[in-house]
């Protein structure tokens, strides 16, 4: 039951030590920086200190209520992250796998479009464009609403 924002890399195995004990199912998702066929050497991720932590905590608590989770963890990095590095992870623990999978998808959909992070591309020649929000991500979120 924790949300964390940090610039340092993380070790998935260490983050999951002891997680989900007593549950029947644990699902984890890790997002990595794509190199986009060599076009990208890194991402610079900006966030809103204060609001970010509160938003992640709120989305985690909502997922726990909605899917009856035994546990959840959200970790999201900020700063300059090289291609191939992990950006973030979510982990969910539930009695059965359906709830754990669904809750992980729910959290990812919320993080994509409603957590205050902004990505900028860094190419071989330096900083490039800010990444645009994708309509697909907004659509994915709408399936959980209403």
């Amino acid at each position: 039951m924790s949300a964390r924002v940090q610039s340092a890399p993380f070790d998935l195995a260490a983050e999951l030590a002891g997680f989900g004990q007593g549950s029947g199912a644990v699902v984890t998702f890790t997002g990595l920086v794509r190199d986009e066929g060599g076009r990208l050497v890194a991402l610079e991720i900006e966030h809103y200190p204060g609001m970010t932590e509160k938003a992640l905590q709120a989305y985690g608590e909502e997922a726990a209520r909605r899917f009856g989770l035994d546990g959840w963890r959200i970790l999201h990095r900020h700063g300059r992250l090289a291609a191939g590095e992990p950006i973030m992870m979510v982990a969910t623990a539930a009695r059965h796998r359906a709830a754990a999978f669904e809750a992980a998808e729910y959290l990812m959909d919320w993080l994509k479009s409603r957590a205050p992070f902004w990505k900028r591309e860094i190419g071989p020649d330096g900083p490039g464009a800010w990444v645009d929000a994708r309509a697909e991500d907004e659509d994915a979120l709408s399936r959980w609403q209403g």
Binding site: M51, M108, K112, W118, D132, A133
Partner: protein, 83 residues
């Protein structure tokens, strides 16, 4: 009243600084946007297309009609790209 106004990502770049203290009588976010846009060309350019701007009031997502009474902090930023 005085408000802390924060900007992120390309809004921060276009305006030229990450935060500023604004003395305002604005009753809503929309009225605050009008005041900021009238300050100079950089604010006007950054806030010209509000369909590309999201708002948080005291660190909660809000809309342009959100009231500002008792509020301490308002942030403007592009649609979020987390995950």
């Amino acid at each position: 009243m005085a408000l802390d106004v924060l900007y992120f990502a390309w809004l921060r770049e276009r305006i030229g600084h990450p935060r500023e203290r604004i003395e305002t009588e604005a009753a809503t976010v929309r009225e605050l946007v009008a005041q900021l846009s009238a300050m100079d060309e950089w604010h006007a350019a950054a806030l010209a297309d509000l369909s590309a701007v999201r708002v948080a009031v005291d660190q909660e997502l809000a809309d342009l009609d959100a009231p500002l009474a008792g509020v301490r902090e308002v942030a403007f930023f592009p649609p979020m790209t987390g995950g």
